[in-house]
Structure formats: C-alpha cells, structure tokens
C-alpha cells in the first residue's frame, strides 16, 4: 500500500475518532423527561381508557342508514304510497264524500277546482275512461 493510502486511512480513522467524541458528548447529556410530561402522558392514558366505546357494527349500520340516502328515500316512498292510497280510494267516492267531514269536503272542493283548471271538467268521473 502506498503512502497516500496510508495517509487517507489514518485521516479516516482520525475523523471517526473525532466523531465519536462528539457522539460521546451528546450521549453524556441526554434530554431528560420532565415530570409534567410524564403526568400528561398518564392523564392521556387514563382518559383513553374512559373514552366512550366505539359503536358496534350494528349501531354503525343503523347510523349509516339514517345519515345516508336510505331514510329520505324511505320517507319519500311512504309519502307517495299514502298519497296514492288517498287519491285512489278517497277521490273516486263522491257519494261517500257527501257524508265526509267538512274539512274533507273542503279539500275535495279544492281538488275539483284544480281539476277544472287542468282538464276542463268539474267531475273526474265524467271523463268516462
């Protein structure tokens, strides 16, 4: 091995030794954990144990059901069904409507009024279909 190689090797060893001195200095003075940090960590630990339990899969399912599209869709379906039933059963019964309470007769009268505007006849039963 030539002299320059020897020099380089020696230099590297010297660098490594010096680095170790820096590292030793840092190891000799490590940052210490404060009592307040320890207390904060333990407070977190106790708080995390008393935190409310995570909802079960079943509960999550119901929550998703109510917070998503299903509930509004279901409500819309019910509304349409009730309205359809009311139109299908109540409206074609003008004779019964004569005995209906006053509020129902008022409502039917209002519907008749709309029917005149829309289809030009007083009584939908006269449409003959």
């Amino acid at each position: 091995m030539s002299a320059p190689d020897h020099n380089a090797e020696g230099r590297n060893q010297q660098d490594a030794d010096h680095l170790m001195l820096f590292l030793d200095a840092a190891r000799d003075s490590p940052p210490e954990m404060s009592t307040s940090l320890r207390e904060r960590i333990l407070t977190d630990a106790m708080a995390s144990r008393t935190a409310p339990a995570r909802p079960t899969v079943n509960a999550l399912g119901w929550r998703n059901w109510f917070s998503g599209w299903a509930a509004p869709g279901f409500a819309g379906g019910v509304t349409v069904a009730v309205l359809g039933f009311w139109i299908g059963v109540t409206m074609p019964m003008p004779v019964m409507a004569l005995d209906a309470p006053e509020w129902l007769q008022g409502a039917l009268g209002y519907l008749d009024l709309m029917a005149v505007q829309l289809i030009g006849i007083d009584d939908p039963l006269l449409m003959e279909f």
């Binding site: 820096f22 940090l37 320890r38």
Partner: protein, 192 residues
C-alpha cells in the same frame, strides 16, 4: 437500551394489563418507552418542546391502539418509535432547515469553559445532525446515540439490516465531513 423482550419487561403483557384497567401498567410502560422516545425526538428535531409534543402524541396513539394490540406483533416500543419517527418527519417537512452554526464561546473560567465547550459540542452535533438526510439521521441517532442494534433499527425503520448498515455508514461519513471544520473551534485538535 435494547428493545427486545426481557424477563419482567414484557411490554405486550403490560399493555394488556393497561387495557384491563391497571394504572401501574401504564406507568411502567411510560417509564420504559417515553424517555427513549423523547431523546430520539429531541435529537431528530433539535427542539425539546417539540420533542415533548411528539412523545405525548406517540404515547397517546399507543394507548388508543392498546385494545386492538395483537400479540406476536412488534414490541410496543418499536411501534411507538415508528410513530414518533413519522411525527418527526411531518414536523421536519413543515419546518425550514436549521442553520448550521457553531455557537461562539464566551470568555469564562476553566471549569465554566469546559462546561460551555461540552454544550457547544452537543449543539454542534445537533446542528450537524440536522443537515443529514432524514433517514441517515434516524439511523445514526438510533445506532450511535440510542445504542440500538441494527436488527432493532431495521424493525423501526422497516428496512433490511444491510440497508441500515449502509445508512449508518453514510450518515457517519457525512457527519464527520460536516463537523470537520468545527473540530478545532470545539477543542478537538489533531492531538486528541
């Protein structure tokens, strides 16, 4: 201090006891893990207040994870180191690079001078560490300041042992180069 399981030091068992409501288990785990995480984070970030925040956050994640901890997984300390390393990475990305400056030494008495010199050396090392690429910094801190074995570091950094060896070697070379100009100023002349 090695992270591997030793008699009386079964971190997973302590975690199970904590889940069952044992406060002493939480204290034991805190005393076992948190000081190491604080040292690691302080050296990664060069700021003790930030390191305390990282330590608290990493431990909080351990407490939250505890009910779902699977036995046979990594040691809790290894897992917390990983979390802390990621938290440090996040903070370093948000921060401007620290300037590398060797602090000026005031005129003092010999004993004060020695103390100041020691502090200055530590600060110089921290400044030099901050200039290393992040993975090299992690590897050097864990290997040479925390005294961990290469397999332990590999588990924390999720790397192979050879990769850790390579990172550590490159980190040391770079650190030596950065500190070369400070040696004389900090009392490490060629006669050391």
């Amino acid at each position: 201090m090695p992270l591997e399981q030793r008699p009386g030091d079964d971190q997973a068992a302590l975690l199970a006891r904590f889940v069952a409501g044992d406060r002493h288990a939480a204290e034991a785990l805190t005393d076992l893990i948190a000081p190491r995480i604080l040292r690691f984070a302080a050296r990664m970030l060069g700021d003790l207040a930030e390191a305390e925040d990282v330590t608290q956050e990493a431990m909080l994640r351990l407490w939250r994870m505890a009910p779902d901890w699977q036995s046979g997984a990594a040691q809790p300390a290894t897992w917390v180191y990983r979390v802390a390393a990621n938290l440090c990475t996040d903070r370093l990305r948000r921060r401007r690079k620290m300037l590398h400056e060797v602090p000026e030494l005031p005129d003092t008495s010999p004993s004060q001078h020695a103390q100041m010199m020691q502090t200055a050396r530590i600060q110089a090392l921290e400044a030099a560490l901050s200039q290393l690429p992040e993975r090299q910094r992690q590897a050097v801190i864990l290997r040479h300041l925390e005294g961990m074995s290469n397999p332990e570091i590999a588990a924390i950094m999720m790397l192979g042992v050879e990769a850790v060896e390579s990172l550590t070697a490159r980190g040391k070379r770079n650190l030596s180069a950065i500190l070369a100009g400070d040696r004389e100023a900090l009392g490490y002349d060629d006669d050391d």
